[in-house]
Amino acid sequence: MKRYLLSVCYPAESTQPSPEALKRIMSDVGAVRKEMQDAGVWLFSGGLHPSSSATVLRHQDGEIVITDGPFIESKEQIGGLTILRAPDLDAAIGWARKLARALTTPIEVRPFTEYGD
């Protein structure tokens, strides 16, 4: 079994969906998560506050310097993530497909390195 990170991507300037649309999305996403849990593949998932809420720590000359984030300024932002177990990429893509349908945003699928497994 491998582990995969499913990241929810959206443009930094994207506007919040309307309250009704958001409600539907949240319930759809909840249903996908429930399905993942029932199938025993779900490890973790969560949504993130906007990147303006981020704080960055840097190692500098032996000191740890704390600054306002985000770490990387980019148009695309990670809005949330899911970690799951899957036998291969096709299985992970199968779950990501469901998530992308529910969220209507792009999803990035990325494998974790597996040391010593």
Binding site: K2, P87, D88, D90, V109, P111
Partner: protein, 391 residues
């Protein structure tokens, strides 16, 4: 290769093992004689080489895995009768892996040529006009992604198959097109690419005989490939109307027609079958003047319904020119957006010439010549251009 990739779960390891096995065969066969099943011998030897390597290089966890592989292998050796069948299934798995949508399309092409076509990295790099180091990197990155992301060696499930098969057919057809009409360079045709694509097409047809589009693609490639030599006669590009039809490959045409009849009986038309049908109509005509353009137009109309696109529209316009005149065709062409495609400009130039707008035609030929990266096609366009400005 395909069998070992499944056993070992690693393409690079499989490749190295096969190379070693061939080297051993070269050293041993001349003295000891060729074994009764050469392919089986290579597979078994490569398997052992790979296992030796795993034992030498690996940690304990890896060794256990290798031992498991060995155990599985011994089990499978008991079922030698199904070996032949396994090889075919493994090829199918490997082609779906090489053409996985998670790989960039240029990587799909390179991997398919390397692993299923057996072309060397040098040959592929040369064909795509990129440095060998770039191509080597492209291939090794793709292999690393297959390994790290866990792209499976598996024929997709029924629900996924149509979309995944489309990607595979497209890669095979791209290889064929690159062979039949090299996008750049001095040669008009790259015969090895054509042959390779036809071979892959045959393999797919053997593996998935129920898929009409697979049969359709093979028919299409055979019918086009039949004209390969006639198209480049005397070292020059010869357009369809002027080709020596006696030099078309009749065996290919017969096979293409036979495959097309199978498709017709099934009545599940698709883009490749329709394009094959169009080419079959061309092959039916004894001379260019005998061409049944009405039939061809009808087929293009169907193609525009199921697979519309600017290139189909351009080809359809060429047929309209034959039936309803260049004037009518020119109006259709002017609605098509294909500014970067040299053939768009070549077709438009020809139509402008035919309606007597010589100055516009000359300008359009110049654009076509500028956009065309293949020397022989460019030479043809230059000849057209010169004969226009002389008259």
């Amino acid at each position: 290769m395909a069998v070992l990739t499944r056993f070992l779960g690693d393409i690079s390891l499989a490749e190295e093992a096969v190379q070693e096995a061939y080297a051993t065969a070269l050293a041993r066969w001349p003295k000891a004689g060729i074994p009764p099943s050469p392919a089986g011998w290579i597979i078994a030897t490569a398997r052992n080489k790979a296992l030796d390597r795993l034992r030498r290089e690996s940690t304990r966890a890896d060794r256990e895995r290798a031992a498991q592989v060995l155990a599985d292998q011994e089990e499978s050796e008991e079922q030698e009768e199904s070996e032949e069948h396994d090889v075919r299934d493994d090829h199918l798995r490997l082609i779906f892996t090489c053409c996985h949508p998670a790989l960039a399309s240029e990587a799909q092409l390179a991997l398919t040529l390397r692993l299923l076509g057996g072309l060397t990295t040098d040959e592929i790099a040369h064909a795509f006009l990129v440095p060998v180091s770039t191509m080597a990197q492209r291939i090794s990155r793709a292999k690393a992604k297959i390994r790290d992301a866990g792209i499976p060696y598996r024929v997709p499930e029924a629900a996924e198959l149509p979309a995944r098969l489309r990607a595979v057919l497209m890669v095979v057809y791209l290889i064929f097109n690159e062979g039949y009409s090299a996008s750049s360079g001095d040669q008009l045709v790259r015969p090895d690419f054509c042959d390779e694509a036809v071979r892959l097409g045959r393999q797919l047809a053997e593996l998935l005989p129920e898929e009409s589009e697979v049969i359709g693609l093979l028919a299409l490639m055979l019918l086009i490939d039949a004209r390969r030599d006639a198209r480049a006669a005397g070292g020059n590009f010869v357009k369809l109307a002027d080709q020596d039809r006696d030099s078309w490959n009749q065996l290919h045409i017969e096979e293409g027609r036979y495959l097309l009849r199978i498709c017709l009986e099934r009545n599940r038309p698709g883009p490749y079958q329709l394009q094959a049908a169009i080419n079959a109509v061309h092959c039916d005509a004894r001379t260019s003047a005998d061409t049944d353009w009405r039939q061809i137009l009808m087929l293009y109309d169907q193609l525009m319904v199921i697979a519309p696109g600017p290139v189909v529209a351009l080809n359809r316009a060429v047929v309209v020119a034959e039936l309803e005149g260049a004037d009518r065709a020119l109006r259709l062409v002017d609605e098509i957006e294909l500014p970067h495609y040299h053939l768009f400009h070549a077709v438009r130039a020809d139509l402008l010439r035919r309606v007597g707008r010589s100055a516009d035609a000359a300008t359009e030929y110049q654009i076509a010549i500028e956009k065309c990266a293949n020397k022989m096609e460019r030479d043809f366009l230059v000849r057209q251009y010169r004969s226009l400005i002389r008259s």
